[in-house]
Amino acid sequence: MKSKLIIAIAAMGIAVLFSSCAKVPQTEIDAATAAIQSTKDAGADLYVPEAYQAMVDSMKSANEKVEVAKAKWFPNYTKAKDLLAKVNTMATDAKAKTEARKVELKNEVTTMIGEVKALVAENTALIAKAPRGKEGKEALEAIKSDNAVAETTVTEVEALLANGDLLGSDSKIKAAKEKATSIKAELDEAIAKKGAAKAPAAKAAKAPAAKAPVAKKAKK
């Protein structure tokens, strides 16, 4: 009888011991929370929003699992711990993806900056070649202004890039490229038109009766 009593008391003791031994996986929770924060600091919520959201959802689910375990007589945090480990893996993965996306975006923007700069320079050269007439600059002011807007945008994009705003610089440089390309097309068209207009004049210049050009009179 005595031994039965001892066994019963021991069983209860073990049960109490077990229940008090399963501790909340606070270290894992803290680690996962820190991993998420570090991923957010890296910009994952901006550059890989889907991966970031999946990670945040998993963390919430892990927290729920912790509470589910806590609510039991004999808490078992294995599932929560597994999920927290998964969150850590997801955080590492999201961070790597963020860095990769940043590099990709930076390269893309840098390449486009180069392209737009080249286009702006090309446009500036084309403006010099474009039909000017005797007074020159005034008529090309509109195109020049357009080109200047594209050039200013490049400067703005470079500043954004220096501040690490890759997304902002990406959309801005795309718009600048679009603009610079359209200016080039406009200038090409004007130069082609000038060429077409000059062709008959060149023919006429070959005529034997042609005399030396008369000096332009400025007064109008």
């Binding site: 919430k60 609510a71 801005k172 600048a176 004007a190 008959p200 006429a204 109008k220």
Partner: protein
């Protein structure tokens, strides 16, 4: 009394044994009773605890609803509701954790369940509202793009070739840039950003268009005078004489004879053509009645060939004197001269100092048609503003 050999009274051992046995029995019964009580209590506790509803499912549903709302970008388009949903979810979690810290029998998850339910409801509403709002915003932005593109098109159609101030075409160019950025943001699904950029584009477009339209309206205040001049010129051609009629807005030089336009040529003017010439160097092309006073053939003109006009006429001199008197023209300024119809044109923009520029083969043709003494009437436009703008509201 009989005593046994050990000196104990008879029945002593029996009685003692009986006493021990009854004591053990009592203890046993007490233990059984206690264990039964413990068993019953534990059973009741287990029943109570197992019957108690945990907020697990409610929180899972709330979390999924929040995730769905985030996917629907409720955090952007239904920010307030989404925030409420998130707060309710957080409150549910806090309540759940608090209850879990209490003794198991005294836990009550009712509040956590309530918060979770509210979180789900709010998240669902937020998602729904976000979808509606983003759809409306998307439609609004798309229609705004169309209307802004029309305004830019209007500018290109009506104002692009007008001699407009730098600040106006700078504004026009900026508006085009912001519109491009807005379209890129829209294509990337960033509707709020697209909306902000669109609004910037709209501000610049409205500024450019209103400044340019004011300039155009002001210029067309002279239309009745142009109309009279043009009718006189056409009437003067009825006798068989050739008359040149120049429409500056249309950029066309007509040759009229017997009241009909027999030829027309594309013309280019001074860079400040949308004004009547008032002084030298203003790069404006004069408006009024003139005559060809000299013909310059190849070799005599720097612009292939030229027909020199008798600018300034009497009206120009009168206006010049009046403007000088009124201080509108500086004392040292001259009235200008050497206004010609000449070649070297066909450049596609207004480039002269105030002359009328034609293509070389066109000036050749014109020189064959007209000569010194031919009347040249230059007007702003032969058509009223409403026709020029095709009735467009600007």
């Amino acid at each position: 009394m009989n005593y046994n050999t050990r000196g104990f009274p008879p029945g002593y051992f029996f009685n003692t044994k009986m006493m021990v046995l009854s004591k053990q029995k009592r203890i046993r019964w007490i233990v059984i009773g206690l264990l039964s009580v413990i068993f019953v209590v534990i059973t009741i506790c287990v029943i109570i605890v197992s019957q108690r509803k945990l907020p697990t499912d409610d929180l899972r549903l709330a979390r999924e609803a929040l995730s769905g709302a985030k996917e629907a970008e409720a955090n952007i388009y239904s920010e307030k509701m989404f925030k409420e949903a998130s707060q309710n979810y957080d409150s549910a979690m806090v309540n759940w954790a608090r209850e879990n810290r209490r003794f198991i029998l005294f836990r009550d998850y009712g509040r956590a369940i309530n918060f979770a339910g509210r979180a789900k409801k709010r998240a669902d509403e937020a998602a729904e509202e976000s979808i509606k709002k983003s759809s409306t915003l998307n439609k609004d932005i798309e229609s705004s793009f169309v209307s802004l593109a029309k305004k830019i098109e209007l500018y290109n159609k009506l104002f692009k070739n007008l001699p407009i101030s730098r600040s106006v075409f700078d504004a026009h160019n900026k508006s085009k840039m912001f519109l491009s950025e807005s379209k890129i943001a829209h294509d990337n699904g960033k509707l709020n950003e697209a909306d902000i950029l669109y609004k910037k584009a709209e501000i610049y477009t409205n500024h450019a268009n209103s400044a340019a339209s004011k300039m155009l309206r002001d210029y067309f205040n002279d239309y009745p005078n142009w109309s009279r001049l043009a009718n006189d010129a056409i009437a003067a051609s009825r006798g068989g004489n050739k008359v040149i009629l120049v429409d500056k807005v249309a950029h066309i030089l007509y040759v009229y004879q017997s009241g009909k336009a027999i030829r027309s040529f594309q013309a280019e003017f001074g860079s400040n053509w949308m004004a009547h010439k008032e002084r030298n160097g203003d790069r404006a092309t004069p408006e009024g009645n003139y005559h060809i006073c000299n013909e310059k053939n190849r070799g005599n003109s720097a612009y292939h060939k030229a027909l020199l006009l008798d600018y300034p006429n009497a009206d120009d001199r009168r206006l010049f004197a009046q403007n000088k008197r009124n201080g509108l023209i500086s004392r040292g300024a001259g009235i200008g001269n050497l206004i010609e119809i000449h070649g070297n044109g066909g450049k596609g923009f207004d480039w002269t100092s105030g002359c009328v520029g034609l293509r070389d083969n066109d000036i050749d043709d014109l020189c064959r048609l007209v000569g010194p003494g031919t009347r040249v009437t230059i007007v702003g436009s032969l058509q009223p503003l409403s026709v020029i703008t095709s009735g467009t509201d600007f």
